[in-house]
């Protein structure tokens, strides 16, 4: 067999392995209802329920943080995260969770927040005119 052909076969084999890994390794975006049915870890995109309490009591347990989140279909679910409370989560516009359902709770292994690019998106801070 020609050497060029061998190289070609090796390259194609690696490329195929990569494509397969896209299907086997990659996860899916789901809502909480779908997450309940699924066995494996997946991603849920949603929004923080700002009216309910975000529970983080480091004095008791520095590695337990829980909150309530709506998915994109407005289904609410309790989310439990083993770790410290991510800074700035109150301000997040959108949250992407990685994890799986356990009973009625979603066990997050990773929390990715999308925050306004600046602190307070386009909210002018008005201060009373002082002598300055």
């Amino acid at each position: 067999m020609k050497r060029g052909a061998i190289i070609g076969i090796v390259v194609i084999a690696i490329a195929i392995a990569m494509i397969i890994s896209i299907f086997t390794d990659s996860s899916t975006y789901a809502n909480f209802t779908e997450a309940k049915a699924a066995k494996e870890e997946l991603h849920v995109v949603g929004y923080l329920n700002k009216t309910k309490e975000l529970h983080y009591d480091p004095v008791k347990d520095a590695n337990l943080f829980s909150f309530y989140m709506y998915d994109k279909d407005s289904v609410e679910c309790k989310v439990v995260f083993i770790g410290a409370k991510p800074q700035d989560i109150e301000r997040s516009e959108q949250i992407v969770l990685t994890g799986k359902m356990m009973g009625n709770e979603f066990r997050a292994s990773k929390i990715l927040m999308k925050c306004p690019s600046k602190y307070n998106k386009d909210k002018v801070e008005i201060k009373a005119a002082s002598a300055v």
Binding site: R3, G4, I7, V11, I14, A15, M18, S21, I22, D25, S26, S27, T28, Y29, E40, E41, L42, H43, V45, Y56, P58, V59, D61, A62, N63, L64, V80, I82, G83, A84, K85, Q87, D88, E90, R91, Q94, V96, T98, M102, R107, S109, L112, M113, K114, S117, K118, Y119, N120, D122, K123, V124, E125, I126, K127, A128, A129, S130, V132
Partner: protein
């Protein structure tokens, strides 16, 4: 009716906007003129126009930067860019970094570097100036368009940094009550005292230096592209690579340094807990670097053997196309779901897509156009030749790159096809697994090729010299594996071996260089640096371990203990030591300096018998930012062979710094009793003593002659004060006189604070029938015991990573010197 706004300084913005338009116009003119100058070789008039237009472009770009800097520096918050990226409190060097916090500023940085590189080309490129500057100025035109910020047929083109705050935002919507009054609206600047400030994460000196370096790297990628393009277009196939080589090396060196600076910044100053997270934004910057490195190696193969011409041209062109693709990924907002660092969309994604398509189109066109003329050799390379294995190495670099592109582009695929693919759940493990595989092959090749000659090598000699290095490398690997406590992971052992083998083989070349063959030293040094970088980066840091593992044995949530690993965060009360691995750590207090709080954490290393063998203190810093909450900056103890990295993840709130986080827009009053405990009501008479948590109070008397400012008293009104002496436990004495007013039959009372003791006293009623006075005491809750939550990570052998980077950069620099000397010699 047009409103006249008071106090605005419009000149710098108008001047800046003028320069923006001029920069675009002159770039376009220069591009067109260089194009015709290339077409009409004997006509110098086009070149004269092109050059003048280029110089105007350079001046305008500098002008844009100066105006913008002036605006930010003099705190002109009537400009949206200054308002949203800076504040009065920022020191000068952070004003520089707020300059490029936004997209507009970073585009400016790009065009600025491109203009500077253009100037070098105008002076140095000689016969290449005209064709090379065509694509440089085309890119400059397209970048100019990104800053122009005008609307054409209802579609905004670009985003100008000189837009006014009142045009960027709807002020009336922000504060409807206040700005309903036209006088207030025209004096709106009086109400805007300060800008939004710079994100605390970016307030770091690395943020001053990292973006300019990275953008110089991105900008310089256009030059090798332009040489390749010009060479193919003008049919100068034999010459262009020599001229492009120093530029390609320069781009690879600067971009590589810029990327690693970013990772050093993340490691030293950010709270990501590491130096490389395979975040899409990081990936986007490394993609073009990999193809460029591949391209450089294949160029060498072609110049020495005549093989692989197409691959070299293709990779050099592709590298810049990927730079543009990377800027699409990071700037269009498409990565929103997968990256924390990407910019949000400024409504310019379509413009970025066009930018991509133009350069992709140019690449395809020139490759097709010149396909027949390309010097492609018909003969296969010898198996035992350097060029063949250089080609294989480049092939694997491209495959590695393809893998990163494929997984980073998942959001793009979702957008194009409406699919819902999410990245792998454990993305870091996924990348590490694949990329270490590629890295093993590529690193082995950087060693093996050192034993091969161009064109043909005698296989027996090759194996004979190879075998020595393999044995040496195997022995060192075994020693390293033993010292570091053995790697359990086969991939890491292979990678360590590959890196050590590469270092050994290249050190041999370096040995020859010391005997006088200096020419080859550059690549050897760069390869050694790369080997060290790999050892530090992939092998050692991938085995980092969290040392702050919760050892109290607490079960986080009942029922889950079998599935959950213990948490990474450790809770520490002030003064109470905790054991963490081989350390005993104690949080001993904090000190406040400006906006930063330094948390002092003592580390004591204990040996097996419990004796302290080493003591040191780390002071991880955190900003308690009213708007963003607690933002930690790690503190790291550096050793030669490892780092102990410590970061605060939570701590007590410090009210004076954190504030209440609310904006009191439109004069909303805060509840004056906020932060106090439930009040205690005492019925007292003069002479009574009341105790409170940290002392006691003495009722001294009733003051009938009390006075209140601004409130005139009627004939039947009563105003009395109650004099209270507060004796604190620390023996300090304070006097307070809350007053009670009975006006037209209604009771009002005016409380008094004793702030030092956290008390508020209200004289709330008089009860004549009982002969008692009512005193209501509010007290602030007991100050919480100080605590912190911290995370500590041990990074073994990370210094190899940084050292390797520096050595690799030095190697690149040596190669640049050699290649540009070669170039000058030939032309002389």
């Amino acid at each position: 009716m047009a409103i006249k706004y008071a106090g605005e300084s419009l000149l710098p913005g108008q001047l800046g906007q003028f320069f923006v338009v001029l920069a675009f116009g002159s770039a376009l003119l220069s591009f067109i003129s260089y194009f015709f100058a290339t077409k009409n070789k004997d006509d110098f008039s086009w070149q004269r126009i092109a050059r003048s237009a280029f110089w105007i472009n350079l001046i305008s770009v500098v002008g844009i930067g100066s105006c913008l800097f002036y605006i930010i520096y003099s705190h002109q918050f009537e400009y949206y860019y200054a308002w949203s990226h800076s504040s009065r409190a920022l020191p000068v060097y952070f004003i520089i970094s707020s300059f490029w916090e936004g997209q507009e500023g970073s585009f400016w940085l790009w065009t600025f570097w491109e203009a500077v590189l253009g100037a070098v080309l105008v002076f140095k490129a000689k016969t290449w100036e005209r064709p090379v500057m065509v694509s440089v100025m085309l890119c400059q035109t397209l970048l100019g368009l990104m800053l122009i910020g005008v609307e054409v047929f209802g579609q905004r083109i670009g985003s100008s940094p000189f837009i006014l705050l009142r045009n960027a935002l709807d002020l009336k919507e922000m504060a409807p009550v206040l700005f309903a009054d036209p006088t207030n609206l025209s004096n709106y600047l009086n109400y805007i005292q300060d800008g939004e400030g710079l994100n605390p994460l970016l307030q770091n000196y690395w943020m001053v230096i990292h973006p300019p370096t990275l953008f110089l790297g991105f900008a310089s990628m256009i030059v090798p592209f332009s040489f390749a393009f010009a060479g193919l277009w003008q049919g100068r196939h034999k010459e262009w690579m020599k001229a492009a080589m120093p530029w390609a090396l320069f781009a690879a060196m600067v971009l590589g340094t810029g990327i690693i600076m970013g990772s050093f910044w993340a490691y030293e100053a950010l709270n990501f807990g590491g130096f490389w997270a395979w975040d899409p934004v990081e990936n986007a910057s490394i993609i073009p670097w990999l193809t460029l490195i591949g391209g450089i190696h294949v160029m060498l193969a072609y110049r020495n053997s005549g093989h692989a011409y197409f691959t070299a041209a293709f990779l050099l062109l592709l590298s810049f196309v990927l730079v543009v693709y990377a800027s699409y990924l990071t700037r269009s907002g498409v990565l929103g779901d997968t990256s924390v660092h990407a910019f949000t969309d400024l409504g310019m994604s379509w413009q970025l897509i066009i930018f991509n398509l133009i350069f992709l189109g140019l690449m395809i066109w020139v490759l097709v156009y010149s396909r027949k003329e390309m010097p492609i050799s018909k003969k296969d390379e010898e198996t035992y030749s350097r060029e063949f294995w250089l080609f294989i190495g480049a092939l694997f670099l491209v495959l590695a790159c393809l893998h990163i592109i494929a997984f980073t582009s998942i959001p793009v695929v979702n957008k194009l096809f409406g699919t819902k693919i999410a990245p792998p759940v454990n993305i870091v493990a996924h990348y590490n697994q694949w990329q270490s595989g590629f890295a093993v092959i590529i690193t082995l090749l950087t060693g093996v090729t050192q034993f091969l000659k161009y064109k043909r090598t005698d296989p027996r000699k090759f194996y004979a010299s190879l075998v020595v290095s393999v044995i040496v490398a195997a022995v060192i690997t075994a020693i390293v594996a033993y010292i570091t406590g053995a790697y359990h992971n086969l991939v890491y052992i292979l990678l360590t071996f590959a890196a050590i083998f590469s270092i050994v083989s290249n050190a041999r070349i370096l040995g020859d260089a010391l005997k006088g063959k200096w020419k080859l030293a550059g690549s050897a040094v760069a390869h050694i640096g790369f080997g060290l970088l790999l050892i530090g980066g992939l092998v050692a840091a991938a085995t980092n371990k969290i040392v702050s593992v919760n050892q109290s044995g607490d079960i986080p949530v009942a029922g889950f203990e079998d599935v959950e690993k213990p948490g990474d965060n450790l809770f520490l009360n002030e003064g109470v030591p905790a054991n963490m691995g081989q350390y005993r750590i104690t949080y001993v207090g904090d000190s406040v300096s400006g906006v930063d709080v330094f948390y002092k954490v003592n580390y004591e290393r204990l040996d097996k018998s419990g004796k302290v063998t080493e003591k040191f203190q780390l002071q991880p810093k955190a900003q308690q930012n009213a708007k963003m909450g607690l933002i930690g900056t790690p503190s790291t103890r550096h050793y030669i062979n490892r780092d102990i990295y410590t970061i605060i993840t939570a701590a007590n709130r410090i009210e004076s710094l954190a504030g209440d986080g609310h904006d009191h827009a439109d004069g909303q009053e805060e509840d004056p009793l906020k932060g106090y405990e439930e009040p205690v009501i005492h019925e007292v008479k003069v002479g009574d003593t009341i105790s409170y948590r940290t002392g006691y109070m003495l009722i001294k008397g009733v003051n009938k002659a009390a006075k209140l400012e601004n409130i005139p008293l009627g004939a039947n009104d009563v105003l009395v004060g109650l004099t209270v002496e507060v004796h604190a436990n620390d023996e300090k004495v304070y006097t307070a006189e809350p007053v009670l007013l009975i006006k037209e039959g209604r009771i009002y009372d005016f409380g008094k604070d004793v702030a030092q003791e956290g008390l508020k006293l209200r004289f709330s009623n008089i009860m004549p029938q009982k002969d008692r006075l009512e005193l209501t005491v509010y007290q602030k809750p007991k100050p919480e015991k100080k605590w912190i939550v911290m995370k500590a990570i041990e990074f073994p052998y990370i210094n190899f990573f940084w050292c390797g980077t520096i050595i690799m950069t030095v190697g690149f620099f040596m190669s640049i010197l050699r290649r540009s000397k070669e170039l000058n010699k030939k032309e002389a």
